[in-house]
């Protein structure tokens, strides 16, 4: 693996820099090596797809980049913040100010309407969009006052995306965003993520084990056994409608 392929293009400043990331979980009496020395750089505005089988360490990496977990060894930096060694309160502030999360199961609050689920985040952000604007972005401008139980899975995931982008985060971290969705709905959701990346310039990192999605990315990271097994750069990014699986 050459230096040229692991680093981002020199034109854009790196948003994430990680060196020697190692994560060891102690499960009872057994040490599980989730990450075994991962180096990476992510340029601002990049769209990265992270591919790998279950247990390859991709979720652990995303959790560390998202400030939900800390590495056992190694260093990770977000712009000028060092995430390694940050306190719990600092990590909370980091998530609050810079990171948008999209989960496989949407994790919406059932007792709040669409608009209110988004407002939950905009209420605690510095320069957020209006919740209505964020929902317009994901094509749900007409369903502001619906409760999660009144929405389809795809719609719920789009609300989750609106909630993630409403605070204008620098980075959008998506963990299996289409994992619980059918084919058509999944493509619709991916299209929203791609548009946000292209039009708002939000760096996007998407975890999936659906290899077909890789075509949308600037770069594709392949994970296996806690290591970066390969990095590919797509010469041309495909749009969501061009994907098929």
């Amino acid at each position: 693996m050459s230096e040229a392929t692991t680093t981002a293009p020199a034109a854009a400043p790196p948003i994430f820099v990680a060196r020697g990331l190692t994560k060891i979980y102690r499960m009872g009496e057994v040490d599980v090596h989730a990450l075994r020395g991962v180096d990476l750089d992510v340029a601002a505005g990049e769209f990265i797809v992270l591919l790998g089988p279950s247990g390859s360490g991709k979720s652990t990496l995303l959790n560390i980049l998202g400030g939900l977990d800390v590495p056992t060894a190694g260093e990770v930096r977000f712009l000028d913040h060092t995430l390694t060694g940050a306190t719990e309160a600092e990590l909370t502030r980091y998530r609050r100010e810079h990171v948008g999360f999209v989960f496989q199961f949407y994790n919406l609050i059932p007792s709040l309407t669409t608009r209110e689920n988004v407002a939950l985040v905009t209420d605690i952000s510095e320069h957020p969009m209006a919740p209505e604007e964020a929902l317009e972005w994901v094509g749900l401008g007409e369903r502001l006052d619906h409760f999660p139980s009144q929405l389809s899975g795809g719609e719920q995931q789009r609300v989750a995306i609106a909630r993630a982008i409403a605070k204008r985060p620098q980075v959008l971290l998506c963990d299996e965003p289409t994992g619980a969705l059918d084919y058509e709905t999944g493509k619709l959701v991916l299209d929203v993520i791609a548009r946000i990346n292209a039009e708002l310039g939000t760096t996007a990192i998407v975890i999936t084990h659906n290899a077909a999605i890789a075509g949308m990315a600037d770069r594709v990271w392949r994970f296996a056994n806690g290591r970066m097994a390969g990095i590919e750069r797509n010469p041309r990014k495909l749009s969501a409608s061009e994907l098929s699986w």
Binding site: L68, D69, A89, I109, P110, D175
Partner: protein
């Protein structure tokens, strides 16, 4: 051990804090129940045993001077098994170093028979507590009641002085004793009088000689043949007692009797019975409330606990366990919790019962206090707790086992929410998303919220019902001792004295104002009903002894008519405009039929009020009085009290401030203990409700809360979401608890109304504040414990798991 039982133990360990908090609530319920019931039973048992052992009489009468030969004729009254005649005198007592004059009741006992012939007394047997019996023939050796010697710190060998028939006598205390007549020592009131009233037993011959009463008696007591059949010593209404009293009155008539009476009207017995009755009320109402609240919480908590295990139950079913086995498993879980509660409750109840029973020894002097905790009481309390625990568990299990395994394995259908009532009314803009989450959660499960609110309100109510006593008693004191009797010193004369005594008294040091009145013992009759009461004649415009109606204010007697305390009127079955017949027990024992001018709702006393002039005219012994009220300059009070020791004819001197001091130092301390215990109980209940609620909600909403943490909410913000709901519930519960506390207290005072007094329902704002604060603090403590768990939510797992 079977795998399922291992699971049981581990489950219990996992929820150990909850288990302990529920067990504590049950322990409080059972503990309160056992303590009250056992105190009630212990007092009844102790009294019964003491009355039997000491041969407490069934019928009593006093006369002016009756010849001894009458005793044989009294013994011949059908139904009478034993007669005791004696000389009893109330005299002024002087203890070195005490300024205030005191009263002693001197009772003659046959010392030689007791000591030389070792003959036990026929009745009212004394128990020698310390020292020895007076030596036969040794002049001036006496026994005093044990309590007086204690409070006055009189060692054996101490000297006291009494005024025997106008002659000052020195007496030496050689022993202290207890008597069944003086379990509660008082001159007549319902307040403890230990410091100012002594009972002295001396040789009957010496006492008779001092009063020229040789060959005569002025007090007689009877035991009845079938007295043992009389339940709890209450002989007021039974036919035998009534017949014996009537015959006794007839025999004593020529000798100046004031009328015979049964145990029910014997003062010590009366006060003791009222207290035991109150204890019975407290022993049933409050523990019932406790046990109900505990049962209710147990029910709710177990219900939710089982619901939370829905997935596991489905797995059991999928593995082939039948409904019965699963149900039994959860019943075992409930049994362990309940059993822990019961065991702690028995320990707590036993300790508390002994402590409360012990507090009673301050008021009631028994030779031995037997504490009993009956198995049936323990069984009854335990059964209620078990039923409550099983009820809650079964109700929850029924819902879960009814599901098909596959259905149960799936998570419950996603929660459906709808806009708040508030929002449907168009007021939605008022709340932030966080506030709406809280409100919608409450509104979505109103039943659950209502249960929580009810549980917390219950603990608020318990604190109020335990704390309002101080307010009520203070109000009682205020009305009875400051409004109704505003003077500083009240005197009672041994015999009626001319009204002109007023002028003599006003010349004593420090006396600024004197008012006199007269109380005559009487039997009031209306139709077939009768009641013994004092008829009091008040001077017109009396201001030092006022008739206070708690509903309408001060009342005054009308000419040629009586004004009756409501309770007396009720007993006689009369109202305003009816007539009552007064059979006076003094002078020429006149009778008069008078109109009832009205009834007065007095807090205490069983009174018949008249104008002094009217009363004196009926009695027919001229313008005389029997009591005097004095307004005194505080600085001269001691000088006055010293002088009063030398005023002949003064039998009792009551200094209001010292009476109240004694009352406060004993009653207030007991109230404080009682309030303290109830507050702790209520706090435990509140913590039980709030903490368990928060834990279960946390379990149910961990996923949602962790998601919010991932989205960047701080621990504090997430805590607000969870604890905000509890805070809202506590906020709703406090006013509800105030209302419940008011009605619970009303129920208690209504049930504890004594024959001769009632406790006013007065609850002051600080009491409400205290109750509210107790629950808020309990809530905050619970919140802090739960907060610790919110801080440790697993953020990573929520990304990968579905609710």
């Amino acid at each position: 051990m079977k795998a399922l039982d291992r699971k049981l133990l581990r489950d219990l360990w996992t929820i150990k804090t909850q288990v302990v908090s529920i067990a504590l609530v049950i322990a409080c319920g059972i503990g309160g129940f056992l303590a009250s019931m056992s105190t009630h039973e212990s007092l009844l048992l102790t009294r019964g045993q003491y009355y039997d052992a000491a041969r407490f009489p069934h019928v009593f009468a006093e006369a002016r001077r009756a010849p001894d030969f009458l005793a044989a004729r009294i013994a011949d009254i059908p139904g009478v098994s034993a007669v005791q005649t004696r000389v009893v005198r109330d005299v002024q007592l002087d203890v070195p170093g005490v300024v205030q004059p005191m009263t002693a009741r001197v009772i003659g006992i046959p010392v030689a028979a007791i000591v030389d012939a070792a003959l036990p007394q026929a009745m009212n047997r004394l128990s020698l507590k310390t020292g020895r019996w007076p030596a036969p023939g040794a002049a001036g050796e006496v026994l005093v009641n044990n309590r007086f010697a204690e409070v006055r710190k009189l060692a054996l060998g101490s000297e006291i002085r009494v005024l025997l028939n106008g002659k000052r006598e020195r007496l030496t205390i050689v022993g202290t004793a207890l008597s069944p007549e003086f379990i509660f020592v008082t001159r007549g009131g319902a307040l403890p009088d230990d410091e100012w009233f002594a009972v002295i037993w001396m040789d009957a011959g010496a006492l008779a000689a001092a009063y020229n009463m040789e060959g005569a008696f002025n007090s007689v007591a009877l035991r009845l043949a079938d007295g043992s059949r009389v339940r709890d010593g209450e002989t007021a209404g039974d036919a035998t007692t009534a017949a014996v009293v009537a015959e006794l009155d007839r025999l004593l008539e020529p000798y100046g009797t004031r009328g015979g009476y049964g145990r029910a009207e014997q003062i010590s017995h009366k006060v003791l019975s009222q207290e035991i009755e109150q204890q019975r009320v407290m022993g049933t109402i409050l523990p019932a409330v406790f046990l109900l609240v505990a049962a209710f919480i147990l029910n709710v908590v177990l219900h939710r606990q089982v619901n939370a295990q829905r997935g596991e139950i489905a797995a059991f079913k999928a593995l082939g366990y039948d409904d019965l086995a699963i149900g039994f498993h959860y019943l075992k879980l409930a049994s362990v919790v309940v059993a822990m509660g019961i065991l702690m409750g028995i320990g707590l109840g036993d300790w508390l019962g002994r402590t409360i029973t012990g507090l009673y020894t301050e008021f009631f002097r028994f030779p031995t206090l037997n504490y009993v905790l009956s198995p049936w009481v323990v069984a009854a309390g335990s059964l209620v707790a078990l039923l409550a625990g099983f009820g809650g568990t079964l109700a929850a299990i029924r819902g879960v086992v009814a599901l098909k395994p596959a259905e149960a394995l799936r998570p419950p259908a996603p929660a459906e929410f709808r806009p708040l009532l508030l929002e449907r009314l168009g007021l939605g803009r008022l709340a932030t998303p966080s506030q709406r989450m809280i409100l919608r959660n409450i509104e979505r499960r109103p039943g659950r919220a209502a249960m929580t609110v009810a549980g917390i309100a219950g603990s608020v109510a318990i604190v109020i019902s335990g704390t309002f006593w101080t307010d009520a008693v203070n109000h009682f004191i205020d009305i009875q001792f400051h409004v109704a009797q505003p003077a500083a010193v009240y005197l009672g004369f041994a015999e009626p004295v001319p009204e002109s005594v007023r002028f003599d008294l006003s010349r004593l040091p420090g006396v600024r104002q004197v008012e006199t009145s007269r109380t005559v013992g009487a039997r009031l009759r209306a139709g077939h009903r009768s009641y013994r009461a004092g008829v009091t004649g008040l001077a017109e415009g009396a201001q030092l002894q006022r008739i206070i109606d708690v509903d309408t204010g001060q009342a005054a007697p009308a000419p040629d008519a009586v004004l009756l305390t409501t309770r007396v009127a009720r007993r006689l079955g009369v109202g305003p405009g009816d007539t009552v017949t007064l059979e006076l027990m003094e002078g020429r024992r006149a009778q008069a039929t008078l109109r009832v001018a009205g009834t007065v709702h007095e807090l205490a006393g069983m009174n018949a009020w008249m104008r002094l002039a009217d009363l004196n005219r009926i009695v027919g012994d001229g313008p005389v009085v029997s009591t005097a009220a004095l307004v005194v300059d505080r600085a001269d009070q001691d000088a006055l009290l010293t002088r009063l020791k030398d005023v002949p004819g003064v039998a009792t001197v009551i200094v209001k401030s010292t009476l109240l001091d004694t009352f406060r130092s004993t009653t207030a301390r007991n109230l404080l203990f009682y309030t303290g215990v109830l507050t702790i109980f209520a706090a435990i209940i509140a913590v039980g409700v709030v903490y368990n609620n928060a834990r279960i909600q946390l379990a149910e909403r961990a996923w949602e809360l962790a998601s919010l943490r991932v989205l960047g909410m701080t621990r504090g913000e997430v805590s607000v979401l969870l604890l905000g709901e509890l805070a809202m519930e506590i906020l709703l519960a406090i006013p509800a608890g105030f209302v419940a506390g008011y009605y619970l207290s009303l129920l208690i005072v209504t049930l504890t109304h004594g024959e001769a007094f009632e406790i006013p329902l007065v609850i002051l704002p600080p009491t409400y504040l205290y109750a509210g604060a107790t629950v808020v603090i309990a809530g905050v403590v619970s919140a802090l414990i739960v907060r610790n768990r919110i801080d440790n939510l697993d953020l990573v797992s929520v990304l990968k798991t579905r609710e």
